[in-house]
């Protein structure tokens, strides 16, 4: 049974339809890259999976549970599916450690000592064990993004959504974040990422999903998609990104 099931998903902003019927089934341990031009709907799709956008039609289910838009269901869903944002979105009034601890305590009602132990473990995992007491504005962009990953991991999600996680970073900081993502993939974490890092996507992902004008235009294994694109749109997209 797939971990994430998306069926006939429709999403509009007012008059404009951004997602025009998406069907996508993701198995446990898959690493998926959503690629496509800006405005093709890939970020919106990602945000729908986490309930950040309300859907207008179709259905999403995660781990056998339908996505229903009320506070209790969303709370359950979001404990299973973590999200990493382009702009990191760390809480500026909390230290790195507190960022990782907060939701554990508030949402999962974990005790403070357990939450702290988990936070230290996760910060270690992303290579920031020594930054526990630093505030976000004392960290580089790459470090902030790694804290954000640790924060999501501390909730022990069964899947992670990554929304252009390196786009806001200086080029020299991209590597450290991708390294962490690569490690997660190799450990078997289910990942769905929107990315412009084509080389990385080709290297790490099990499946590429090319989106065009609100639809899935083409998808398949990376090698196949890159070496043998079937549609002129994908050909031109790959051509552009080289």
């Amino acid at each position: 049974m797939p971990l994430i099931d998306i069926d006939a998903l429709h999403k509009s902003y007012g008059e404009t339809e951004v997602l025009k019927g998406i069907d996508l089934h993701i198995k446990k341990g898959e690493v998926i890259a959503l690629i496509g031009k800006s405005g093709s709907g890939k970020s919106t799709l990602l945000r729908c999976i986490n309930g950040l956008e309300q859907i207008n039609g179709g259905a999403i289910s995660v781990d056998g549970q339908q996505l229903i838009n009320d506070e209790m269901h969303l709370r359950n869903l979001r404990q299973k599916v973590g999200m990493i944002f382009q702009q990191f979105n760390l809480f500026p009034h909390k230290t790195a450690g507190e960022n990782v601890m907060l939701a554990q305590q508030v949402v999962k009602k974990t005790s403070k000592s357990d939450a702290e132990a988990m936070a230290r473990k996760m910060l270690d995992r992303v290579g920031l064990g020594d930054k526990f007491d630093n505030y976000p504005d004392q960290l580089s962009g790459g470090q902030q993004q790694r804290v954000a990953i640790a924060r999501a991991l501390a909730m022990e999600p069964i899947a992670l959504l990554c929304d252009e996680v390196t786009s806001a970073l200086d080029p020299e900081l991209v590597g450290e974040v991708l390294e962490v993502v690569r490690e997660l993939a190799s450990e078997g974490m289910t990942l769905i990422m929107v990315t412009h890092e084509m080389a990385f996507a080709r290297d790490v992902c099990s499946r590429l999903v090319f989106m065009h004008q609100g639809r899935i235009h083409e998808m398949g294994a990376p090698e196949e998609v890159f070496t043998n694109p079937q549609t002129p749109e994908l050909r031109s997209f790959i051509g552009m990104s080289h």
Binding site: N50, V81, N89, F91, H93, A103, V107, A152, M155
Partner: protein
């Protein structure tokens, strides 16, 4: 009338200043508490409550404080309450202060970037948890400089209560000016007293603002 000298004027004014300060504190604290309650209605999830508070702020910000004082004074009287100018002044100033504070504070809440809402939502927090742990702590920090800044408006606003007969420093000034025939000196002194009350508040608001900007 020459028996009222400069020092008599000054001591009388300073005594009356006590009432200005007291009324300012009552208005600010009362308005703050009411403003906080209204804030939760304004940023809460109930549409009709948001609307009620919006109309409230627009009416109180869109009409003269002097009219509000008159309406409080005569309106409370109609309700059978025996109104002293002090009571009417306190009620009107509390309502007026709350209307401004709720808008100032709402501005601080909406100034928190959308990403903070999304990140905390994606971690599974409910609306109340987001407010309590993520949004309000940050908004609180933003709100300190403009709130201190607004306290200046409250102190100056109390001057209008002299018109409904509350004897604070402006009213004392009017009485003394009439008694001494020295309006230049008396109103000059009253102005300086207000300046002495307000300028430190303005200055600290500006300092806090600069500190906040430097921190970002």
């Amino acid at each position: 009338m020459s028996q009222i000298g400069f020092w008599d004027i000054l001591t009388n004014l300073i005594f009356a200043t006590g009432w200005t300060v007291l009324l300012s504190i009552i208005s600010f604290i009362g308005g703050g508490i009411l403003g906080l309650i209204l804030l939760f209605a304004r940023i809460g999830k109930r549409k009709w409550l948001q609307h009620v508070v919006k109309v409230y702020t627009e009416v109180f910000q869109g009409t003269p404080l002097l009219m509000q004082l008159f309406l409080a004074f005569f309106g409370l009287g109609l309700m059978g309450i025996n109104v002293s100018p002090f009571l009417a002044a306190s009620v009107a100033l509390i309502l007026w202060t709350a209307a401004f504070l709720v808008e100032i504070w709402r501005g601080c809440v909406t100034a928190i970037p959308k990403g903070q809402w999304e990140a905390s939502a994606s971690l599974g927090m409910t609306y109340v948890e987001q407010m309590r742990h993520i949004i309000l702590p940050q908004a609180l920090k933003l709100s300190v400089p403009p709130t201190v800044g607004f306290s200046v408006q409250v102190v100056k606003g109390t001057a209008l209560t002299s018109i409904i007969g509350f004897v604070e420093v402006t009213k004392a000034g009017t009485v003394l000016a009439n008694a001494t025939f020295q309006p230049f000196t008396v109103y000059g002194l009253v102005a300086l007293i207000y300046f002495a009350l307000c300028y430190p508040l303005s200055l600290s608001a500006r300092k806090l603002e600069r500190k906040l900007n430097a921190a970002h």
